[in-house]
């Protein structure tokens, strides 16, 4: 499905005349506290007048040593830390980590848990894309969209709050399934969201897609060719914006994505505007998947946690009444031993391929838990895209590459 730009005929602004400051280089530190850098990112920009000669992103201000922490915490106790990676969509990270562990352990979540996981992942994707939309637009001066996007996002928080009891940092996914089943209230909230959200999305679409300023600030900026996108290890909406139809949900399905009906949008020229169109369409496709998952939920009864006392927590009700189950619970939390080996699992997060590479030596702590952060790759492409562009384009680029520093710095 290739998106077409059915808007008015676009005439780019004429190039500026002779710049009296040409040739005098200025080094400017953008960040680490600049609001447009979306977190503690510093970009050292060398400017020739308004033109960017080169730029060097400096990451690591939010480095908390998550991978090192994993090596002392153990497999199960690392779940809460995955929330704090890409903190705008914690449940997605939970699922990614759980899938990597399940692959190594050779177990699989029960069908109902898989449906709920799909539901949570698609709601998380909308959460992630709304953050993109809100921050990108407020950076480019469209403050209204920021409030529109966060109003919609608040409804998602309410859904997640009703389900998990927390707005952020939910930690609701477990090895072999989920902590708890969804109830009627959550289903009702999602139903309401599915009715209201497309209207809100259409409003934002109407305000932006044909907006002259939005077009000027996004079109033909940060043009990324197919070959460059692949060479720079870019994935997700950025790669699809460059016209590559690659979606892990379609190509290497997990949690039963192969049985859902959805389209994979791709852009034509790979500029910031294409990436915007791709993300807008992905939110609509996510709504389609959520609708299907919600229908499937009614026809998929059963447990949300597989029964396997080696790797999976026993049901909470039994833990309170049975000594053995209490011991199993204790063993899983403190002394979970995964089979010796190494395994990598990538999932389609809203930023790109989020992957967990886990290596076990058979003991109760990981030998290595490497997190493949899509945001780091997106930041890496910034110097290539910004070179020779105007300084104001830097803001468009940062927003359009869509990264969250919690995940980049780990």
């Amino acid at each position: 499905m290739t998106l077409t730009k059915q808007v008015f005929e676009y005439v780019p602004a004429p190039p500026e005349g002779d710049d009296p400051l040409h040739g005098e280089l200025l080094t400017l530190n953008m960040g680490p506290q600049h609001p447009a850098t979306h977190g503690v990112l510093r970009i050292v920009v060398t400017l020739d007048g308004e033109r960017i000669v080169e730029c060097d992103p400096v990451v690591g201000y939010l480095h908390r040593g998550k991978e090192k922490s994993a090596e002392s915490l153990g497999w199960h106790k690392f779940f809460p830390h995955t929330d704090r990676l890409d903190y705008v969509q914690p449940l997605m990270n939970n699922v990614g980590y759980a899938l990597a562990l399940e692959q190594l352990a050779g177990i699989e979540a029960p069908p109902r848990a898989q449906v709920i996981r799909v539901l949570l992942m698609e709601l998380s994707r909308i959460m992630g894309h709304l953050i993109y939309l809100g921050t990108q637009s407020i950076d480019l001066g469209a403050v209204t969209i920021f409030f529109y996007a966060f109003k919609e996002r608040e409804k998602l928080y309410e859904i997640v709050d009703a389900y998990t009891g927390h707005r952020m940092n939910n930690t609701y996914v477990r090895i072999g399934g989920l902590y708890a089943d969804v109830d009627e209230k959550v289903e009702r909230l999602i139903e309401e969201f599915l009715v209201e959200f497309p209207k809100g999305l259409d409003d934002m679409d109407k305000l932006l897609t044909r907006n002259r300023i939005w077009n000027d600030r996004n079109r033909d900026i940060g043009v990324l060719s197919r070959a460059d996108a692949l060479a720079m290890s870019l994935t997700g909406p950025v790669l699809r914006g460059s016209g590559v139809e690659w979606d892990l949900r379609r190509a290497q399905p997990y949690c039963g994505y192969e049985s859902y009906d959805f389209d994979v949008p791709t852009g034509a020229s790979g500029d910031c505007y294409d990436r915007y169109l791709v993300r807008m369409e992905e939110m609509r496709q996510s709504c389609r998947i959520v609708r299907q998952a919600l229908d499937r939920l009614k026809s998929t009864p059963g447990d949300v946690l597989v029964e396997d006392r080696r790797f999976v927590l026993p049901p909470k009700g039994l833990v309170h009444t049975s000594m053995e189950e209490l011991i199993f619970q204790f063993k899983v939390v403190t002394d979970l031993r995964l089979p010796k080996g190494q395994s990598y699992r990538g999932i389609e997060s809203s930023k790109g391929e989020l992957g967990f590479f886990v290596a076990s030596d058979g003991s109760s702590t990981p030998l290595r838990c490497h997190i493949r952060a899509p945001g780091l790759m997106n930041i890496q492409a910034l110097p290539m895209l910004a070179k020779g562009r105007l300084f104001s384009d830097m803001v468009s680029l940062i927003g359009s590459m869509d990264f969250v520093m919690g995940e980049v710095d780990r």
């Binding site: 480095h63 290890s233 990598y344 699992r345 992957g355 030998l367």
Partner: protein, 177 residues
């Protein structure tokens, strides 16, 4: 089982690997997520190039290291590659005799930050890397935190700050104080 579909069975991709790698010495095994090619350091770069050009692995997902301390040699380098055309993955594992390896940024420019991170965290030096600086830890930091002998609670976490603070205070005049 849906997860199994994602993993191309070894039999399907083995002829492709064999054709691409030719006479290069290697050993293919199967891990829970797909094939793993084990190579020696001398052949690492040639194998990676053959996989990119001959077997269609156009995207490098990540480059990372595992520290097998106290076993020697301690470091094993892992390159995870992805082929969009064939829809499969492969991991190249290479045990490093020392603490250096050839770069693969000439094959995949995107490996730049991954190798910088690997150098930062493990102290593995990548020969031929265009810009081998620390990525996540500050410049001037003396340790490589993901090495197994590095303590979990960290080492003198505010040394750089105290150093900077002392220099700053020394430069203050009486008026400023």
């Amino acid at each position: 089982m849906s997860d199994a579909d994602a993993n191309t069975p070894l039999a399907a991709s083995a002829p492709r690997f064999a054709a691409a790698l030719g006479a290069l010495p290697h050993c293919i095994s199967q891990s829970p997520d797909g094939p793993v090619i084990e190579v020696e350091l001398a052949n690492l770069h040639a194998v990676l190039r053959a996989l990119r050009d001959g077997a269609g692995f156009e995207l490098c997902s990540f480059v990372t290291c595992i520290d097998h301390y106290p076993t020697t040699p301690r470091f094993a380098l892992h390159h995870q590659l992805l082929s969009l055309a064939h829809n499969d993955r492969v991991r190249v594992r290479c045990v490093l005799p020392g603490e250096s390896a050839p770069t693969c940024t000439d094959l995949w420019p995107g490996a730049n930050y991954m190798e910088r991170e690997c150098f930062d965290m493990f102290g593995v030096r990548f020969g031929g890397h265009p810009d081998l600086r620390r990525l996540l830890m500050p410049d001037g930091y003396d340790h490589h935190p993901l090495r197994k002998e590095f303590p979990h609670q960290g080492i003198e976490p505010d040394r750089l700050y105290r150093q900077w603070d002392r220099a700053r205070r020394a430069s203050w005049t009486d008026d400023a104080r």
